[in-house]
Symmetry: C3
Subunit: 185 residues, 3 copies
């Protein structure tokens, strides 16, 4: 066998080894999984117990539990159990729940911080992702880190881009979320 | 072209490919570290200040701090300082503490969300892991993401599987936790 | 030396290199990015509304919102909007904000747990990192996991080492933070 032929064979072999290379997770600047969902939040205001999906559960000394604290809601913590839908219709069949807490943590400007999970329970996806991070919601798009996952989203990491899709008074808001996972197992 | 020259070229090429490579962490579908622990939670009810390891610190407008809100405890936030043991005996010598918060975030069903750390301080382990995620505790087993760690658990990621081991009224519960780390440094 | 022999040697060498290989993110025991910042926390005590950067928003049944609960502040949750500076001077121009929550979760000892973000908005850095973990603040140095990031800190992971730099009564504290990222994209 000629050494040139052998070299070529060797080259191909090593290229294959290197390319499939030695980690079992896919990591790249291209997302390995993307998902677009909407979640809908109806805040309890003392009169909408039936429809509300969230409630103020903690507030600063100057706050209350039936109305957000003035002027920037600083210090209010909200627990939520919001439906997730695939389109922007509150009445579409939910594909899961967004559950956890958010809090207003801007003293002079509007700012929130989320710690919560999307739990999917549809034919398309089973499992959950956990998100935690700042949501400066007056900006058009905001990135919130996806820090872990279970089930179909085992060990996932990535970014969820929030876009406010509707904002009605201080009772209803809807957020469009573009989820891009960059670590998939 | 001489085969030696070709080999050298090949060598350089592959060296470049390989050098852009090379991670120092072990990643695989097999856990790199496993651990089984129990944690014990005794909720403050207004009369057990001595023994309680946790307390309701936030509640919705219709709730109180000495009893969980009806019907699904929605909106209650609990801060806890629970002992970790290696067996299911509350009175075994603790190997660390489970500390942080959990909240009830199911409006129509029972659901919780945890954000906390296991801090180990025994001869076996020194360091902590941080966990965050949904715990739908009526299910027999639930997976909660391990999102970070320190000390012996530096940069760890993985999954903690919760199994309710005891549930007595609404004051005591014990959870068995199978921790499987998939990223170890 | 025969070229076949050389090829075999080369093959073995490259096999070893390739097997340990290939992810597109840089991971090593050496940090890929480091940063030193200070954050400053002034707790609302009922009389300092103007200057306060944080407020007690949840407390156990025996607590209040204008003073930390005795004896170890167990159960208090604080929401904060603290300035970040590059030196230890509260009045230096902030390079961003530390925003989120911390809670006292030691029943018999002092302990806290943080869930928050550093959001940078200076010429040096744009983006945010999310941190979550235990801060046993009586220890001289404590490690808190960095669990995610956005912008310049896209997908970051690492460790933030907290060192209390000042502690005045129960109203002001300043923390020096050495941030070391071990996963950079």
């Amino acid at each position: 066998m000629g050494s040139t032929k052998l070299i070529l064979l060797l080259f191909c072999l090593l290229l294959v080894i290197s390319t499939s290379a030695a980690t079992q997770k896919k990591i790249s600047r291209e997302p390995c999984k993307t998902l677009v969902v909407y979640f809908h939040d109806i805040l309890y205001n003392g009169q909408n117990a039936e429809n509300a999906t969230s409630a103020i559960v903690a507030a600063p000394a100057w706050g209350k539990k039936t109305i957000l604290a003035e002027p920037t809601h600083f210090g209010d913590i909200i627990v939520f159990d919001d439906p997730i839908t695939l389109d922007n219709n509150l009445h579409s069949t939910p594909v899961g729940r967004a559950q956890g807490l958010y809090l207003y943590d801007g003293k002079h400007t509007f700012n929130t911080w989320f710690g919560f999970s999307f739990t999917f329970n549809s034919t398309g996806h089973k499992g959950s992702i956990t998100l935690a991070g700042a949501d400066p919601f007056l900006e058009k798009t905001r990135d919130i880190p996806v820090i872990g996952g279970t089930g179909d989203f085992f060990m996932a990491r990535g970014i969820a881009t929030f876009m406010t899709d509707a904002f009605e008074g201080e009772v209803y808001f809807r957020v469009r979320v573009n989820i891009s996972l960059y670590e998939c197992w």
